[in-house]
Amino acid sequence: MSDTPILSIRDVHAKVADEDTEILHGVDLELGKGEIHAIMGPNGSGKSTLAKILAGHPGYEVTAGSITYKGEDILEAEPDERSKAGIFLAFQYPVEIPGVSIANFLRTALQSREEEGGELDLFDFQDELLARMELLGMDASFAERPVNDGFSGGEKKRNEILQMAMLRPELALMDETDSGLDIDALQVVADGVNKLHQENPDMTVLIITHYQRLLNYLKPHFVHVMVKGKLVRSGGPEVAEELEARGYEEFKTVEA
């Protein structure tokens, strides 16, 4: 794979901003360009916290260690700066924004990526939006609905994938994208991510999940196991299969 990693996490310790309890106790991880990684772990292991701190959630604080993205320290960068630099987080619980259509939201997001004083071409935007929705098998009317307002779980996750398709990230973080989805919705979402990765094989993907089932559709190159705030096992796709067969108990006891 590539020479310099796109994302390099070194000995990261983190906690909730206004609490003392540490959640991550020294995480090391490197992601190479174009690689698909999965972090699996039981509830409360800290895997979602890792996704959030990579995207810059203000509710968490990194107390030690470093995170470099494309060779640059990003710990001080605001979430919008990270987004513009190519990091995308697909949320486990996407937020509802009543009164704002998906199209309007995406237009604002893309406008914010323009150079100072630059204007997004609205016709190009409309064409691009329709093309991306077609690629993902979505009906054009979807973009006129208010962002996540009254959406089913599946619709919310599809909206995340549409945003990912429009923003064309270099590093996509999928935070429990499979949670709350039935098998059909799961397939649709995985299919979308696969298409985007085929289209841009340089895109790096980090999948955070509790269950192995998503990985039946989204094939990772590497699988890591997180337990109690640490990565306790890393390997190839076979790690996921091991987990499927034996569960997390083994890792928990190893750790203890």
């Binding site: 919008d80 924004i97 704002v100 914010s112």
Partner: protein, 453 residues
């Protein structure tokens, strides 16, 4: 009303709010040269003002707005009427910009510092008998209509302290009369400008839409930011005759500094539609008293409102859905977004009188707090004397929390863009219910400008 006692001896509360500048001499001078009916009306109004105590926070209706702290009547001098010419080229930037955004219209009025400086009206409409003019001219030209409607049935002076003050001291205002069956395709647009600090300005609006007529009216008031308080008192009376369709929109975009007091009463006749939209963006303190009376059976009122406050702004909305007649419908939706230390109060009552069976009346107030220090108080209320009605009320106060902002910022939006999008989306629900050309754009821009402060 209470039995009037002799006025020779002051009793408790008497003469409150009478100052070196706002006094009976001023009323006399305003009334000089006016027809007798109007002169008497001013003097009666002033007497009513003198004997009505200044509202305090002990009154439920003024519980959250302490006039002794928010309004310095003693420091104000009255704004006088004076001959003015309006020249669009030399209009202040904010005013010019606001007028620029007024696209299609049936006519315009420009009022500067309480004096109407310009009126124009589509010639075809004038030929059909539509009257759009200054209140002062209307006193000369349409005395019979004014005598019937001005400060009588809608906002009589004995309705309250400030109704009385305005009725006694108004300098000018706008009169619109739409004759029976005449329909105005485009809105009448009014731009009112305040330029002076330390003044007390009293202006009135009287809209009389006769049977089966139709009109939309957009009343926008603006100023620059001011260091010293001015009081802007606006009294608005709107009559919709049987089957008439009327929309009244108030856009309050004063700069920082003024105290805006808007007192409105709408009276809807049989099968009339009388909708209102009140937008409060500016001023340091803005108080709205709106009473919508459903007087004729089958009358219909949508009552919409929105405010967006920041800094130390204080908005107090006091509404009443007054169902007198049966089979009438009213639906109120007021929304407020508040940033900084801004505060809003919503106090609304649905009052259904005994004979008003088959009333449908709804009331919703929603607030969005953008900062820790912002505050919204919501007091919806019902008073129902009929037994066959459908009424509901509800209120919410929500917060733009960290997770909202993080979600939007993780898509590349700056904090300001994220807030703007959420606020526009939140307030947009109100605007979508009354889509008048230019209004949505103006409000969107005003929201943006405030978030960019």
């Amino acid at each position: 009303m209470a039995q009037s006692t002799t006025l020779d001896e002051p009793i408790g509360g008497l003469m409150e709010g009478v100052t070196d500048s706002l006094n009976s001499d001023l009323v006399q001078s305003r009334a000089t040269g006016e027809p007798e009916w109007l002169r008497n009306r001013r003097l009666d109004a002033w007497a009513s003002y003198e004997r009505t105590p200044m509202p305090t926070t002990r009154l439920e209706e003024w519980r959250y707005t302490d006039l002794s702290r928010k309004l310095s009547l003693d420091a104000l001098t009255p704004m006088e009427w004076s001959e003015r010419a309006f020249d669009r080229e030399s209009a202040p930037a904010r005013m010019a910009e606001a007028m620029e955004a007024d696209h299609e219209s049936s006519g315009h009025v420009v009022e500067i510092d309480g004096t109407v400086a310009h009126v124009d009206l589509d010639a075809d409409l004038a030929a059909k008998g539509v009257v759009l003019t200054s209140l002062r001219s209307a006193v000369e030209d349409h005395p019979e209509l004014l005598e019937e409607y001005l400060a009588t049935r809608a906002l009589p002076a004995d309705r309250g302290k400030f109704q009385a003050l305005n009725a006694a001291l108004w300098t000018d205002g706008i009169f619109l009369h739409v004759p029976r069956g005449v329909r105005l395709e485009h809105p009448v647009r009014v731009t009112r400008w305040l330029s002076e600090e330390g003044k007390a300005l009293f202006s009135r609006t009287l809209i009389v839409a006769a049977e089966a007529s139709q009109v939309s009216y957009v009343d926008e008031i603006l100023s620059d930011d001011m260091e010293v308080q001015s009081l802007v008192s606006s009294a608005v009376e709107v009559f919709a005759g049987n089957g008439a369709q009327v929309q009244y929109v108030s856009l309050q975009r004063l700069g920082h500094g003024p105290f805006h007091l808007s007192q409105q009463r709408t009276i809807a006749g049989k099968d009339a539609t009388l909708d209102t939209l009140n937008v409060n963006m500016g001023a340091t303190t803005a108080r709205l008293d709106l009473n919508a009376q459903l007087l004729g059976s089958g009358a219909n009122s949508d009552m919409l409102g929105l405010c967006f406050g920041e800094g130390d702004q204080h908005f107090d909305h006091n509404t009443s859905q007054d169902h007198v007649a049966p089979h009438a419908y009213s639906d109120l939706l007021y929304k407020g977004a508040l940033d900084g230390r801004a505060r809003s109060v919503f106090r609304g009552i649905i009052k259904v009188h005994k004979g008003a069976q088959q009333t449908d009346a709804y009331q919703t107030n929603r607030n969005l707090l953008l900062s820790e220090e912002a505050r919204a108080d919501s007091l919806p209320n019902l008073e129902i004397e009929a037994d066959d009605v459908r009424c509901s009320h509800g209120a919410t106060v929500g917060q733009l929390d960290q997770d909202h902002l993080f979600y939007l910022m993780s898509r590349g939006l700056s904090r300001t863009e994220a807030e703007r999008l959420v606020v526009i989306g939140f307030l947009g629900e109100v605007l979508s219910k009354l889509p008048l050309g230019g209004v949505v754009e103006k409000i969107s821009r005003a929201v943006e400008a405030k978030l960019n402060v």
